[in-house]
């Protein structure tokens, strides 16, 4: 089963190799036949071949989901990074139709010099448009602008029953099932995205430190609405009265007038820092409570107690970790998990209890990210809801990690919150079911375009996303034995 073209295709038409893949966290690897496509017609051909040969299939972009969302063990991984063309653009009204493999990095480099920015930017530029739709990604502006799929006009989907063009007006059920649908409703071929007009590539940023978590949350609740972008970085290893001490950064795009006179002539120059890679994978355990606490301490001390109107580049404001290529490898061979939850606004106390649990467990977490979400969009599997979202990175290996995270799950479910599927690699199926009340409705919509569950991911199998838990999971198909 290794190598060769898919059955039903001319040999060599689309090169395919069997490759072991994992998510950005480096956990739970699995092998699939990787097929790289470069055109919409090839997507349709590979989908048709998978249907004809009873193989499972899943699209994968730049592999930035942390767990098993972009894995399809034993099946076909359709690598979309060759669909990297901006197909259409209108730079007067501000929209682009981009192939699903176009990265947000490419979009920024193409559009910023022309005065346009992506409507939503997650913590890395190295995600594809298709991945941004599949995870319905959010950014620091969620409390004002919502998530990525709120800024789409149209999507083209390759489903096992044929191509579907959908949008908020045209077949909204399938459109919203695809928003945050983790690629399980069809292969996203292209997306039409509305853009944000900017005068410069700089941000005007206010920074302030808070001494504990309550102070941080109070400050964010009070004045977030004055800023388009807002986020807080929390030190989860601080204890006692410093529990949850944080640095809050908030800002907006700078206008030309905000720039120093000398830079006003070229306000739209977009420079991204050179990216020194992590040269070797260090042993797991390099990031332990001692080293991480030392880092967090230095980082907290370095932040100004209060600073207003500081100019910062888009790259440094939105994507600080992109400056180190392959930073995920710092966690060593065993990898890491990112735990990201949201709890409703009225249940903000759950955030405090989660931070307390993690602090008490001395789990080595780099700075955690806390942010206020605005209302969610209609996507049944879309993650954001009005409330507080907290994200933590934790190294894998300690036997107590699993039970610790399960206890956090209980807090989140109890508070009426949920976990982000793009980050998850370990929750239980019943936990997932409790967190996403729109799941039955989502399954019904998906069923119509993929009745035989041709599209599947390791995440879908683990959580029973497609089939309710207890029912038989889809098999790897007949191709391998």
């Amino acid at each position: 089963m290794s190598g060769g073209a898919l059955p039903g295709q001319a040999p060599g038409a689309v090169p395919a190799t069997r490759t072991v893949l994992s998510g950005w966290g480096g956990t739970a690897p699995s092998a699939a036949q990787v097929v790289r496509v470069t055109s919409a017609a090839e997507v349709d051909a590979v989908m048709a071949a998978a249907v004809a040969s009873d193989r499972r299939i899943l699209a994968r972009g730049l592999g930035r989901s942390y767990g098993d969302a972009a894995l399809c063990a034993g099946g076909v991984i359709l690598d979309t990074t060759g669909l990297d063309t901006v197909l259409e653009a209108d730079l007067r009204t501000g929209w682009v139709r981009a192939g699903s493999g176009v990265s947000l990095d490419t979009l920024m480099k193409t559009l910023l010099p022309r005065g346009w920015f992506v409507p939503v930017s997650p913590g890395t530029r190295f995600v594809t448009v298709g991945g941004a739709v599949a995870a319905d990604v959010h950014g620091k502006n969620h409390h004002v602008d919502g998530s990525f799929c709120s800024h789409l006009d149209r999507l083209s989907l390759a489903t096992p029953v044929g191509r579907r063009d959908v949008g908020p007006e045209k077949d909204p059920e399938l459109f919203w099932a695809t928003a945050g649908g983790m690629g399980l409703t069809g292969i996203i071929v292209d997306a039409t995205v509305r853009l944000l007009s900017v005068e410069t590539t700089q941000m005007v940023v206010d920074t302030e430190r808070s001494d504990d978590l309550d102070d941080c949350m109070a400050r964010m609740s009070a004045r977030d609405d004055e800023y388009r972008y807002s986020v807080a970085w929390i030190d989860c290893l601080a204890r006692g009265r410093h529990l949850g001490r944080a640095v809050i950064t908030r800002g907006d795009h700078a206008g030309v007038d905000d720039l120093p006179v000398g830079r006003r002539a070229r306000p739209l120059d977009f420079d991204t820092p050179r990216r020194p890679p992590v040269a070797v994978t260090p042993p797991s355990g390099l990031l332990n409570p001692l080293t991480v606490a030392a880092f967090n301490e230095a980082w907290f001390r370095k932040a100004p107690r209060r600073r207003r109107g500081h100019l910062e580049s888009i790259a440094s404001f939105f994507h600080p970790l992109d400056a180190v290529e392959g930073w995920n490898r710092l966690y060593g061979r065993r990898g890491f998990v990112q735990y990201q939850c949201v709890v409703p606004t009225h249940a903000g106390d759950a955030v405090r209890r989660i931070v307390e649990h993690v602090s008490d467990a001395r789990a080595a977490s780099f700075l955690a990210v806390l942010k206020r979400f605005g209302p969610g969009d209609p996507g049944p599997l879309s993650f954001p809801m009005a409330g507080w979202t907290l994200a933590l990175d934790l190294p894998v290996g300690a036997a107590r990690l699993g039970p610790l995270l399960d206890s956090l799950d209980d807090l989140v479910v109890g508070a009426g919150g949920r976990l982000y599927l793009a980050k998850d690699g370990r929750m239980r199926p019943e936990t997932f079911e409790a967190m996403y009340p729109g799941l039955a409705q989502w399954r019904a919509v998906r069923q119509k375009v993929d009745p035989d569950a041709v599209i599947v991911s390791d995440l879908a199998r683990r959580l029973g996303v497609i089939d309710a838990p207890g029912r038989r999971a889809p098999t790897t198909g007949s191709g391998g034995r």
């Binding site: 199998r461 790897t476 391998g480």
Partner: protein, 253 residues
């Protein structure tokens, strides 16, 4: 599917009634394990283990009566288990017998029986399941070896040699699985107090089935290739392996 912390949702157990296997399963059910296929010789004892697991949270436990020395049936075990479970996350190989050294070293068929049960049979079964795991593109085999096979002793050389053969076979199979998405972990327990060793004098660093299970599950979480239980045995045997034969021969126990 195995989760990010290495915990399986489904498992097949070959030698489904062993004390160590049962402890491992109980520990895994407390994490993520829900559906299990138990393969063993004694239906009644399989049923006891199945009821135990169902009582603590497993949702479906199938029992299959079969003998690990019956290599002709291994391919159908693997295919049937794959059909029942959908995905096989874990194949736990715990089948084994201590044998009766005094008989085994003089009676050819008795010696062959120990080697078949501890080495040839489990090796053949692993071949059958490795084929399924390769096609799946994921899944882990965990096989119970023994420190008795690390350096074979006069006192129990038939058992020791059978485990040495199994351990060597598993080491090679683990290498062959690299790059397939599937993996194999070897467990080398020391002297464990179980039904198999009842009535015998405990060896050095003696342990219990529950302690071995804890070490195995920790090793799975770390993606270990080899787990020694208790872990200091790794260093003890690094030394014992190098002893001159004349010294090795005189060691007590």
């Amino acid at each position: 599917m195995n989760d990010a912390t290495g915990m399986p949702q489904t498992a097949v157990v070959i030698g489904g009634t062993s004390d160590i296997g049962r402890s491992i399963l109980r520990t895994l059910v407390a994490r993520r394990l829900r559906r299990v296929v138990l393969i063993g010789r004694d239906e009644e004892r399989l049923r006891v283990v199945a009821d135990d697991l169902l009582g603590i949270g497993a949702t479906a436990v199938d029992t299959v009566v079969g003998d690990v020395t019956d290599a002709a049936s291994h391919a159908s075990w693997a295919d049937d288990a794959a059909a029942a479970l959908g995905q096989i996350d874990l194949v736990l190989v715990t089948a084994g017998t201590l044998g009766d050294q005094s008989l085994d070293e003089v009676e050819p068929s008795a010696a062959a029986r120990v080697l078949d049960t501890n080495c040839t049979g489990p090796a053949a079964a692993m071949v059958a399941f490795a084929t399924v795991l390769r096609a799946q593109g994921h899944g882990r085999i965990v096989v119970l070896s023994s420190v008795a096979g690390v350096r074979v002793r006069r006192a129990n050389f038939v058992y020791g040699a059978s485990k040495a053969g199994l351990d060597a076979f598993a080491t090679g199979l683990a290498e062959s699985l690299r790059g397939t998405g599937a993996s194999l972990m070897i467990v080398r327990p020391g002297w464990v107090a179980t039904a198999m060793t009842a009535g015998l004098t405990p060896g050095p660093l003696a342990t219990t089935a529950d302690a071995v299970a804890a070490d195995v599950v920790t090793g799975m979480g770390r993606g270990a290739a080899v787990v020694w239980s208790p872990p200091p045995l790794k260093w003890l045997f690094a030394v014992l392996r190098l002893l001159p034969a004349a010294v090795w021969r005189r060691l007590p126990g």
